[in-house]
């Protein structure tokens, strides 16, 4: 049940971030060509790009966290990845979950505040509250996913995307 829910969420997040990224590129391409060729830019392009970027980053945060793709210094890997250092990996997982939890918690507060003062974007007046709420949920999901993967499943549930054939 937990695994099925996890795969459903993963697929949902992947499709959402792919769509957001593609839309972001398309509207920026259309904005520049529209402005230079037809004197007709897209109104609110900055707002749209910023919101789409936030969605891409926070859709990807749980996936990247669980795939272990955050930038790390791997100079001492041979020593630190040995079975005797497993305790350190537990500490790191807990530390990451705490930071992600704090991000989630503080964004939850920001979301409530933004709702209370009706915080909106500059051009299109898009409400910030729901966006902050999404960011909070994503960070909390990342924390829970990381703990679930590290302590209960004990294997990587998400593999980094294939880099394909660059030849």
């Amino acid at each position: 049940m937990a695994k099925r829910l996890f795969h459903l969420l993963k697929t949902l997040l992947e499709y959402l971030l792919m769509i957001c990224l593609l839309v972001m590129v398309t509207i920026n391409f259309a904005d520049v060509t529209g402005r230079h060729l037809f004197n007709h830019p897209i109104y609110g392009i900055h707002d749209l790009t910023e919101h789409l970027m936030a969605l891409v980053v926070f859709c990807g945060l749980p996936l990247v966290t669980m795939a272990g793709m955050h930038l790390t210094v791997d100079l001492l890997d041979r020593f630190l990845q040995s079975p005797s250092m497993r305790w350190l990996q537990h500490v790191i997982a807990v530390l990451m979950a705490v930071i992600l939890g704090l991000i989630g918690w503080t964004f939850l507060q920001s979301s409530l505040e933004a709702g209370a003062i009706a915080d909106v974007s500059n051009e299109l007046r898009l409400p910030r509250g729901p966006l902050y709420l999404f960011m909070a949920i994503s960070a909390l999901l990342s924390a829970l996913g990381l703990l679930y993967q590290h302590f209960l499943v004990n294997e990587k549930l998400i593999t980094p995307p294939d880099h394909g054939d660059a030849l």
């Binding site: 792919m18 590129v25 060509t33 791997d74 990451m96 880099h163 660059a166 030849l167």
Partner: protein, 431 residues
């Protein structure tokens, strides 16, 4: 000030203990700010810093340029670049090595990764060089050194990150990187030519190709050259901002790949996911670095260093050399992005106070950290190459790299002595 010093030490320790860099920076920053001010301030700065970064139109340049690079990489550009460069340079002494260098510069500029370039070109160019009798040392050193070239040639993600950290104009940084990047390519090519002339056995001459073959070899690279020219030209002429340039670049790359039948739905899905994963990883370290720069500012460390340096009478070029030595040493054990994220916020106020141009400093710092990619003991490009070509001893590669490292040091000296190399094009564009 002491909290600032402790914070840097703590970040380095946590990072070396394999805590992801973004999380090391966030953890230390939160604790440090809580100690200097109070916990409430630290916790309120956390979402503020993250939303400033994630809701920044300028930073949207990152995923779109990465997408452009990923799409172009999938179109087989590395082989096309090598074939085309070989048609033009193959007949010169050391021609295959020269062609590899040009292909490396082009491919690394587009894909933005020294490691990916070293890994890819070891498959594309190394077998050709060996089959024509090129020495192991020259063949591998060419690929390892060539991978470092693209970091300055626009679009450069590391320069975007530097621009955000120092609040420098990203368009100016891109323009400033063009001449030093191309100078690096020309100097490396000169180095290869010299090696080939001094020791002809290491690099035999190939056949001269006629102009028909040369022109037809451009068929595979014209779209790459067009996108590159459009981005540089558009930025130089101020037609568009870096973010708009990224949108145009990614859009054209997707269109060209789709029209040439090289972009199936499966490939599109893969490049979008790959782009998103890389972007999120970059954003997460940037969140940490931005909060960390606030801690450095509150701790008074940057001001303290400034006072110490002024009291010691170190200034001008002497100061720049001292800072670069720190970057070069750190580069032996750390990734260039990590060094820039941690140490640029520390040194940039000092650089500004001394009256140096932050755009120029960005170029110099990136060159210095990239040298570390090919220097012993850790030179990451060498180890990436080693993974792709396990039969080649590491010592052979490092020995082959010596003339290239000397060339890089000379380029760094030129950039420090003549800042105009980086800045004249910026001045010309009205930046």
């Amino acid at each position: 000030m002491s909290i600032g010093i402790l914070a840097i030490v703590a970040v380095l320790i946590l990072s070396f203990l394999r805590v992801p860099l973004g999380f090391s920076l966030l953890t230390v920053s939160l604790v440090g700010i809580a100690l200097i001010m109070d916990t409430e301030v630290a916790l309120s700065l956390l979402p503020m810093t993250i939303s400033e970064a994630v809701l920044s139109y300028e930073l949207a340049v990152v995923p779109m340029f990465i997408l452009m690079g990923n799409v172009i990489s999938r179109t087989g550009i590395s082989r096309d670049l090598f074939t085309s460069a070989n048609a033009f340079f193959g007949h010169i002494r050391g021609g295959l090595s020269l062609s590899t260098m040009v292909a490396c510069a082009g491919f690394s500029a587009v894909c933005g990764s020294s490691y990916a370039t070293a890994a890819t070109m070891s498959k594309v160019a190394y077998p050709s060089m060996r089959s024509y009798g090129y020495s192991e040392g020259l063949a591998t050193a060419t690929i390892a050194a060539g991978g470092t070239l693209g970091i300055l040639i626009p679009p450069s993600i590391i320069l975007v990150i530097y621009g955000i950290l120092t609040q420098s104009n990203i368009g100016d940084l891109f323009i400033a990187g063009v001449v030093p990047g191309l100078l690096g390519l020309v100097m490396y090519m000169g180095c290869i030519y010299l090696i080939s002339v001094l020791n002809p056995a290491t690099a035999p001459q190939g056949e001269r190709m006629d102009w028909k073959i040369r022109l037809s070899s451009l068929k595979g690279v014209w779209s790459f050259l067009f996108i590159f020219a459009l981005i540089i030209g558009g930025l130089y002429l101020k037609w568009f901002s870096p973010t708009e340039a990224a949108g145009i670049g990614a859009g054209i790359a997707l269109l060209v790949a789709a029209l040439s039948g090289k972009l199936s739905l499966k490939t599109l899905r893969e490049v979008l996911l790959e782009t998103a994963y890389t972007s999120v990883a970059l954003y997460s370290v940037l969140f940490g670095a931005l909060l960390f720069s606030k801690l450095i500012s509150y701790s008074g460390l940057a001001d303290g260093i400034l006072e110490t340096v002024q009291a010691a009478g170190v200034e001008g070029v002497g100061l720049i050399i001292m800072i670069l030595l720190v970057f070069l040493l750190l580069g032996c054990v750390m990734d260039s992005l990590a060094i820039i994220l941690i140490f640029v916020p520390l040194f940039s106020p000092l650089i500004m106070a001394q009256g140096f141009d932050l755009v120029w400093f960005g170029i110099v710092v990136v060159v210095a950290t990239e040298i570390a990619l090919i220097t012993p003991p850790i030179g990451m490009n060498v180890f990436v190459l080693r993974a792709a070509l396990p039969d080649v001893p590491v010592a052979t590669v490092f020995k082959g790299l010596l003339p290239f490292i000397m060339t890089d040091v000379l380029r760094l000296a030129l950039l420090i002595t003549f800042p105009g190399i980086a800045l004249w094009l910026v001045a010309l564009s009205g930046g």
